[in-house]
Subunit: 191 residues, 2 copies
């Protein structure tokens, strides 16, 4: 599938989870990474944030993009109690984040940007995630063992905490992992 | 977590997906397998089927179970249009199954049995899964490349078809993979 896709795919993401998911779609790709500023205007809410960041990341790569290349960028955020949860700066913040997620529902938004020299398609997906009540012991065990400092909301759905804490999701599981692969496939198919 | 669990865990499942999920829970286990008859009374519906089969599998292992061992057995079925979808016998049946799943909602039920010499706990989990409309080309590509003849409903959620077809789930993703790990963890914690 997508075998005669006319572009070389370039994935601009340091996330090993996104690299895994694109591979699982059966797509060959080249990895290209830059350090990109991840700040965004404070007025943005919900999906506006990862949409803005995925486009901003894409714009940083545009000048180096070949005419036969299609760039994929993405950004994922956790949204809870009317605010965004970024990556935790330290252990105390990671504990605070997981304590807030515990026993609550949150939303995961991923924005994706597909871009060639001549065309850009941007879209997002959202998933509701329901956490069970976690004990302080479970929270500290996870943080100390898994060091989730590179993860929005201080957790990885595909790690121990995801196995024991997630009671229910509504939406795409892969979106929670960082890339709504069904929508990426659909949009690539009709790009 | 579960570090001072008083039993040695024995997993009776040939499914590599279940073995993976138990490992991800951080549990050590011994694998023990038998060929068990997977037929069930025709009057059973929905979760009754995997509950029956998980208990039936457990009963086959009981006589060999040590007093310090806890056995885990499980069974997963796909339920669609008021009937169960088993493993496909051949290519034609696999095509028919995926054609029926295409563009539809189905339910995945997993029954789990935890058993020692002296106690048995049985429970289940259910997840709704929504497939996009698949093309015949996508269906045949998947079947020929992935040979899903060991999978209920002729698909694996963690394979290519799961990445492109599943638009939404309601419930646990790991239940769809074959083991509702959050419930297994919870029940082991209070066994």
């Amino acid at each position: 599938m997508l075998q005669n896709f006319p572009y070389k795919i370039v994935l601009a993401s340091k996330s090993p989870r996104r690299q895994f998911l694109i591979k699982e779609l059966g797509l060959d790709f080249e990895l290209r990474t830059l350090d990109v500023d991840e700040s965004f205007p404070e007025t943005l809410i919900r999906e506006q944030i990862p949409l803005y960041l995925s486009e901003h990341k894409a714009s940083e790569f545009l000048s180096d993009l070949g005419v036969d290349e299609l760039l994929i960028t993405a950004d994922t955020i956790v949204w809870i109690n009317n605010k965004v949860m970024n990556k935790p700066q330290d252990r105390a913040e990671a504990i605070a984040m997981l304590t807030e997620l515990s026993g609550n529902k949150h939303e995961v938004f991923t924005g994706v940007c597909l871009m060639t020299k001549y065309k850009k398609v941007t879209f997002f997906d959202s998933t509701e995630v329901y956490f069970k009540q976690l004990s302080p012991t479970e929270i500290e065990y996870y943080i100390d063992k898994y060091q989730p400092y590179d993860k929005a909301g201080a957790y990885g759905a595909q790690e121990w905490i995801g196995y024991i804490a997630v009671e229910k999701i509504i939406g795409s599981y892969f979106n929670v992992m960082g890339l709504p692969v069904h929508k990426v496939y659909e949009q690539l198919s009709k790009f």
